[in-house]
């Protein structure tokens, strides 16, 4: 009884991990899709969402037969589009890893997942440098060193993941959402607001947003400190250190 329960627990965990890796395997494609949504409302340039969906869907489906026939017809590799290469170099290996994950016993989830993410990063780097020139005679091309270190990191990531299968180790750490969310929100707000709204407004507002990150914040106190800090920065950076920076909102100055 206890044994079966243990097994179901570990198998649901494996399924979860495998699903996570599956998402990771499609992450660049999904990222471009989300990015392309911006083109609808006129933000940014690039392919529209429909195009992205079509191109990547086709690439993911056609990459496998292409690869098989490509290896028969020598030198066909140069004809591959970047989307197909992404599927071949990045997504397919990770699909394989996701499938393997379903059947193994993960003894140190922290190491296993950590290793796989590094592995994915290495594959991404290999894909990103696949269009670069390799060795030309004795001299390095632009792509030689990135590929060398990419392969090295691939091996290391695999090694770390492998260790997670053979040695017992810690569980995944607990992630909280509040701190990261509000700190990141404060950073993004600052980045977007500094040009149009100036230092005074954006620094104070970001301070208040960041303060949401902790449930222990006392608001009166935070407002006083935030105001004092804003004043200090407004004097320190532009005047004492002489770094040029917009101070007040553009529409107020005009």
């Amino acid at each position: 009884m206890a044994e079966t329960m243990g097994q179901t627990a570990s198998s649901t965990r494996n399924t979860k991990a495998a699903l996570g890796i599956l998402v990771l395997a499609l992450a660049p494609q999904l990222f471009e899709l989300v990015w392309s949504l911006g083109t609808i409302i006129g933000l940014g340039t690039g392919r529209g969402p429909a195009q992205v969906l079509l191109a990547h869907g086709a690439a993911l489906l056609s990459a496998a037969p292409n690869a098989v026939f490509g290896s028969v017809a020598a030198d066909a590799k140069k004809g591959f589009s970047s989307d197909v290469l992404l599927a071949l170099i990045y997504s397919y290996p990770l699909f394989a890893v996701a499938i393997v994950t379903l059947f193994v016993k993960i003894r140190a989830p922290q190491d296993y997942i950590g290793g796989i993410v590094l592995l994915a990063l290495a594959l991404l780097a290999l894909w990103a440098s696949s269009d670069l020139q390799g060795m030309r005679g004795f001299s390095f091309g632009a792509g030689t060193a990135p590929r060398m270190f990419g392969v090295l990191m691939l091996a290391l990531g695999a090694g770390i993941a492998g260790m997670g299968l053979f040695a017992d180790g810690p569980e995944l750490g607990h992630y909280s959402w509040r701190g990261p969310l509000f700190v990141c929100a404060a950073i993004i707000f600052f980045a977007l607001a500094i040009r149009p709204l100036g230092l005074v407004v954006s620094a104070f507002a970001s301070f208040m947003i960041a303060a949401f990150g902790s449930h222990e914040t006392r608001w009166v106190e935070a407002i006083i400190v935030g105001a004092a800090l804003t004043l200090g920065c407004a004097l320190l950076f532009p005047y004492v250190l002489g770094l040029p920076m917009p101070m007040f909102p553009r529409f107020l100055i005009q």
Binding site: Q110, A125, A128, A145, F149, F207, S214, G226, L243
Partner: protein
């Protein structure tokens, strides 16, 4: 003699009013950082990098150096009084130092820590001055193959001496190397791994990554534990700063040993202040006639690690100033600071910029003198600072970092990139990856690639050049031997033991 002429020149530079002021600011900020937990040296140096923009290079580097060794002093204060090490290098000081404070001997503990640090600082300053010249000459004899091998050795040292899994530390270095390659290739100008994003064409800013991984990530991680750190201050007044005669006699040999050990470990890459304080404490415990006194307020347990971490903090400048190779993450940031000011670190700096090198060396001695004054009589002020709650500190740090990054290039995108790396750093911490080797890899990446390219070009594509040139072969052999030693079970256990001791 050359040495004295150089030192005299250095003091002339360091004693100019502006440099004295920079040294004082550095020492003050360093102490502040050392006292306040939740904000580390690396994050602070990264945060202040952009601020040094407007300063002359000598003043800027004097200030940044002051922060680093100043933090070692400040960290000991909180370790002893509050049992919260403000700085990783003073974790072991808390073991015996806080026990002494509980027995009402906080004054002598603080005094011995300061005296030990000052003595170590003086010795280390002289050591830098003595070793600087010869090592620079050696470095000038290095070809690209030797340089590459030396960097490999440095990285291996960093990995072996780092805490935790070897494999993970190496992976972090390689990750750093890969990150350093984003952007334009130096020789061909090809855009590498930039994903057609124009903002990436110039590469990832070093300060941006450092601030994200060390500044933002640390804040996010600290918020996990709840903002309120547990701080039960030793409330009684500190009376009688002067140590007794017996204290002095007991601690003098410990300070000597700590200084020697710290100086050696500081020069070795990857060492720095943290590992040397652990090692010094372990050594004292091994040598003591009655080891059971340790952990119960033995004064040697305060004196040795404090001397060691301060010595190491200073001698770690030696590889940076003579070879241009940073031995740890803080020194990696110093490389960043030098490049901001248009100085290429390396052996030529000693000859081309004597003002900078000798001024910095002399300022270290002056800084140590200032730190004694800052720390001993003013200790009450620093302790009061501990009452500043983290809930007010963390939004301030976020804003300060954000403004700092923005001011480097006046680019809002940089701020967002730092945020992204903050999340990356948070993830790394959750998976037990050390971010410090990543930074080291990122700084050494371009140097390594360039030297590798050159070495292979000169040897006409023959890889055996790394083992056929004797100096390079020796360096690589040491690196290989170290790696083998580190995975041997006996030494592994020892290495883990050193770190476990401090945590229990």
């Amino acid at each position: 003699m050359d040495l004295f002429a150089n030192l005299a020149h250095g003091f002339a530079v360091a004693l100019s009013p502006i440099n004295l002021l920079m040294c004082l600011i550095g020492a003050l900020v360093g102490t502040l950082v050392g006292v306040l937990p939740g904000i580390g040296t690396i994050a602070t140096v990264a945060m202040l990098l952009p601020i040094t923009f407007g300063l002359p290079p000598v003043g800027a580097l004097i200030m940044l150096a002051g922060i680093y060794y100043g933090a070692q002093y400040g960290g000991s204060t909180t370790s002893i009084l509050v049992n919260i090490p403000g700085e990783a290098g003073s974790v072991v000081t808390a073991l015996d130092g806080h026990q002494m404070a509980k027995q009402g001997r906080a004054g002598p503990a603080l005094a011995i820590a300061a005296i030990g640090s000052f003595f170590a600082g003086c010795v280390a300053t002289v050591l830098i001055a003595i070793l600087g010249g010869p090592l620079t000459k050696l470095a000038l004899a290095f070809g690209p193959a030797e340089y590459f091998s030396l960097m490999v050795l440095g990285l291996i040292f960093a990995v072996v001496l780092a805490k935790g899994s070897l494999l993970k530390a190496i992976a972090m270095i390689v990750f750093g190397l890969l990150l350093s390659m984003v952007g334009s290739d130096i020789e061909t100008g090809a855009s590498r791994m930039a994903f057609n994003i124009p903002e990436l064409a110039d590469g990832l800013g070093f300060a941006t990554v450092a601030m994200g991984v060390f500044g933002f990530a640390e804040i996010i991680r600290n918020l996990d534990h709840g903002a309120e750190l547990n701080r039960d201050l030793v409330q009684q007044k500190i009376t009688g700063l002067m140590p007794t005669r017996k204290d002095l006699i007991d601690s003098a040999p410990a300070i000597g040993r700590g200084t020697v050990l710290g100086s050696i470990l500081g020069i070795l890459p990857g060492g720095g202040a943290v590992i040397s304080s652990f090692a010094a404490y372990t050594l004292e415990k091994k040598l003591a006639k009655n080891p059971s006194r340790f952990g119960r307020g033995a004064i040697e347990g305060v004196a040795a690690p404090e001397a060691a971490n301060n010595a190491a903090a200073q001698t770690s400048f030696i590889p940076l100033l003579t070879l241009g190779i940073p031995p740890n993450a803080v020194m990696a940031l110093m490389v960043g600071a030098m490049t901001i000011h248009g100085i290429v670190p390396g052996p030529q700096v000693m000859q081309k910029q004597p003002d900078l090198v000798w001024g910095m060396i002399a300022s270290m001695w002056l800084g140590n003198l200032m730190l004694i004054i800052i720390n001993l009589p003013l200790v009450g002020i620093w302790v009061r600072l501990l009452r500043v709650p983290y809930r007010l500190m963390f939004p301030s740090i976020v804003i300060f970092c954000a403004i700092g990054i923005y001011s480097v290039n006046n680019a809002p995108v940089d701020v967002i990139m730092a945020g992204v790396f903050g999340l990356v750093g948070y993830w790394l911490i959750k998976h037990d990856f050390e971010p410090a080797p990543l930074l080291l890899g990122m700084v050494l990446g371009p140097l390594m690639e360039e030297n590798l390219r050159r070495a292979l070009l000169i040897s006409r594509g023959d890889w055996s050049v790394f083992v056929s040139r004797p100096l390079s072969a020796v360096l690589l052999a040491i690196a290989a031997a170290l790696l083998v030693l580190a995975v041997l079970p006996a030494l592994r256990a020892k290495r883990d033991e050193v770190f476990v001791e401090s945590e229990s």
